[in-house]
Symmetry: C2
Subunit: 191 residues, 2 copies
Amino acid sequence: MEDSNKRENILQAALELVAEHGFHGTPMSMIAEKAGVGAGTIYCYFKSKDELIIEVNHVLENKISLAIKEEYPFNKDIRKSFFHLCKTLFAYFITHPIHFRFLEQYFGSPYGMSAHRERIMGNTRKTNIFDIMVEQGIKQKVIKDLPLFIHFALTFGPVVMLVQNHVRGLIELDDAQIIRSIEASWDAIKM
Amino acid sequence: MEDSNKRENILQAALELVAEHGFHGTPMSMIAEKAGVGAGTIYCYFKSKDELIIEVNHVLENKISLAIKEEYPFNKDIRKSFFHLCKTLFAYFITHPIHFRFLEQYFGSPYGMSAHRERIMGNTRKTNIFDIMVEQGIKQKVIKDLPLFIHFALTFGPVVMLVQNHVRGLIELDDAQIIRSIEASWDAIKM
DNA sequence: GATTTATAAGTGAATGTTCATTCTTAGGCT
DNA sequence: AGCCTAAGAATGAACATTCACTTATAAATC
């Protein structure tokens, strides 16, 4: 039984180890061991450690993007969209704590910084779900007329902080609390 | 004119370099050079790199704690307290971006994690200004009856994210925007 | 006060370790 | 055989920490 999807194994090992120990805390040798491959093998698939980490990030971004777009209530009212978006994010990260912790590491590092920059500036994805929701909400006068980045911070700031504490085991988030927290966030942005 | 406060210089150099390059990005040799001391000198004052970084964090925590307590409107109404707290935090971090970036690094690392744990759990400081404010606000029925950690996330989540983007040069926060964002946060937690 | 002696503070080259990356060799496949 | 994937030992760079030594400061003696 040849476990031949080595590339997958390497990505998965890198994801888990970086999530747990951070970028500088995980030597390539450790990744190789966890992936069940030789140290040099990694370099058959990735040019460098940096590239490997960046690739892991891409995989995660795609998965999350998919999770959010799934069942997204296009054309429904803004409040419903907002709740769906937040609930999906909470659900995703609580069921995939490893992904969250990896992204935390990633965005705190030099790589992530520039990625984040582009994300925020909106240069890359012209059709960001959140951006569109905010734009429509303002037009419909159901949410406050604030700059996009303030809406972004009001919405995702609390989510990130709560998930952070949950994932680190400092608090225990249950569904009721998540709903109440989203309701409060909605109060922040609604007209 | 002997520049004899070497300990101070080392702490300051460590603060600035770690803020800019991260913990693993700043060798002790670099800290020594910036502080204008020999490489070994650091070990006369600090047992290890870890201890040095932890000490820098303590210094910062004290400064911030002082800044917040200064002019804090005890006994005034909750809304005023809330605004003062948020405004002070914004002001502090915008005038001390280096401090913010250091703390970002610190709390993303293994050290900070445990410190943060205690902070959140409230085991250490029994008289946290924020905790008291929330408690009183709930009693007075001016803010929602939510767990402390949700109020914490609703309040500081947006602040942290906005300052993060400001400090990284991705956005330009002006006073009016800060006020509007605090007003929105207040809407989130108020009854 | 001058001179020697003791103590502490400071230094930076040397050490040993850790790690990303490379390279040589071995094994499987056509 | 020839070719390609994989392995893991070998390499060399970077770095935290140490330590033998120097310099400055204080104490003691005359």
